[in-house]
Amino acid sequence: MRQKIIMCISILFLITLSGVAQDISFNFPAGIGDWEKSGEAFEYVGDDLFEYINGGAELYHEYGFETVSVQDYSFGEELISVEVYKMKESAFGIFSMLRSAEDQEVDAGDGATIAGYYLMMWRGKHLFAITSQSGESGNENILISFAQQLSENLESGDIPELVKHIPENPVDENSIIYCKGSIALVNISEKAAEFLTGWEEAVVFKSINAEEDLFVICKYKSASAATENLNKIQPRKSSINLKQAGPYLVASIEGSDIDFITKSLETATE
């Protein structure tokens, strides 16, 4: 009996010494191909994201950030880091903000792009940033394998309804950015952010017919709220071409024609 007690105490002591690993909400595989886990995974929740990415956190909060889980993988001297951001709603928004129009589209998740040394992907409510820490390209196929394996068991998601209202032609699909707040918009266009305020959600995109211009659709709580904001902007809108379509304000920042957008909105919302 005495020996059993000593054994139990010893086991408890050893468990305490080894430390209790942080509970991680994302189930990282032990390895992907030849790559193995390097170090312990860690996680930041809610407001603590500021501790991880400082001022960059505000953008993620605007898109509904909940958690980020991080795990590194190594193969020899090389390191790939995997960051999995879980959002309250579809991760398409934050994905659209962080990818660039010139990035290469790849087949992974609900949407993915690769830019040399890093891959961005969204799958349902999850955003993945998979980064080769060397900063050099050459590992593209490995990054894609990571993305496909990490996302295969996750629930798929849908793009926001507002994005579906954008006319297909002549819009540059890769330029579409969905915004949930003004931090995103001000980073895309200070002029747009200065004039277009008070909206609930917005989408920004370019047209292949007017490459130097930027188009914005802002959705307001109601048609009267849209009218109120239109009246505020009208006296000082300078070069902006601005029209209302129900609860939407449609704008081209440099004055290009926007009838093709208002018509599409009217059709979509009939």
Binding site: G39, F42, F50, E51, Y52, I53, N54, G55, G56, A57, E58, L59, E62, D72, S81, L98, S100, A115, G116, Y117, Y118, A129, T131, Q133, S134, G135, G181, S182, I183, V186, N187, E190, A193, E194, T197
Partner: protein, 309 residues
């Protein structure tokens, strides 16, 4: 004695005195013409961070010109994260440490309030300590390590806590990295002080940007610089930098392969902004800091030296 060379002793002395009277002012004028030609800003460009940093320090006159024997040197690099182009290149930090030690510094300290995970995951701690510097961890929860500053001239920020250690070293070198930043589009020396101000005080710098509040963070940074200790030297990393998705990345990377040295935080930032395709006056935090009288926004007025390495 010949009439042509008749000099009485008195006239000789008078001549000598008159000659001296003419010569001395001339010598003083010459002295004022001999100016210190050390540049105000040095930009070293080459493929190697160590060589670029050495070239900057040499062009500024050598660290021995600034750091005295047995002095304590404090460093404030940006150690934000592990993604490429996000944090100050450890080779630049190690080179600065080496030169400070050679100049006779008793200690070289690296300050951070970031948690341990931030600087162990990237091997930064190992690299820095291997260079002979000491990592000084400032605990955000220990009130004794922080001093509260009232900012009477602050337009957006009226009070801020800065860690005391920044004021306790003999010589302070700010070591930011130039990179993109969400909203402000730029971060450099001025914003690097957010690594010295309390993280809880930093958070209100970042409200939603709406209407007039577009200026809020950029004014807060300028106001912070009113009370933050002026850097005794700036060594800025512009070797491999984030040009999108800053400050943390991952994002697009550029490799300007430059290290920048200087003393005027507004001027250095104004020059550094051009690396990202911006002009100093276009970046609100730089313009706001200049408006506070914190430095020269038109860096072309200064002695700027470029060194090819």
């Amino acid at each position: 004695m010949s009439d042509n060379i008749k000099f009485s002793r008195r006239s000789f002395l008078a001549s000598a005195i008159a000659g001296s009277a003419l010569t001395l002012p001339a010598m003083k004028s010459l002295d004022s013409l001999i100016v210190d030609e050390s540049p105000d800003i040095v930009i070293a460009e080459g493929n190697e961070a160590v060589a670029n940093t050495e070239a900057v320090i040499t062009a500024l006159g050598g660290m021995g010109k600034y750091v005295g024997k047995d002095q304590v040197v404090g460093l404030l690099p940006n150690a934000q994260g592990v993604h490429p182009g996000c944090s100050t290149n450890p080779d630049i930090v190690k080179t600065v440490v080496k030169h400070c030690k050679e100049a006779g510094a008793a200690k070289v300290l690296w300050y951070t309030w970031l948690p341990e995970r931030a600087w162990t995951r990237s091997n930064l701690k190992v690299n820095v300590e291997a260079s002979g510097a000491e990592l000084v961890y400032i605990n955000a929860d220990d009130a004794d390590q922080w001093k509260t500053f009232e900012i009477a001239e602050g337009k957006a920020l009226k009070q801020v806590r800065i860690f005391k250690a920044l004021y306790e070293c003999d010589f302070f070198i700010s070591m930011p990295i130039v990179k993109d930043h969400i909203g402000s589009r730029f971060t450099g020396v001025l914003k690097n002080y957010m690594g010295a101000s309390h993280p809880k005080d930093n958070r209100p710098f970042h409200p939603t940007f709406e209407g007039d509040d577009l200026l809020h963070m950029e004014q807060c940074i300028a106001d912070l610089n009113l009370v933050a200790r002026k850097p005794d030297m700036i060594i800025m990393d512009a070797m491999q930098i984030l040009t999108s998705n800053g400050p943390f990345g991952p994002g697009k990377i550029a490799t300007p392969n430059k290290v920048i040295g200087g003393f005027d935080r507004v001027a250095v930032d104004s020059f550094a902004a051009t690396i990202l395709g911006l002009k100093g006056p276009e970046v609100r935090m730089i313009a706001n800091a200049a408006a506070h009288g914190l430095g020269e926004i038109d860096y072309s007025k200064l002695n700027v030296k470029s060194v090819a390495v």
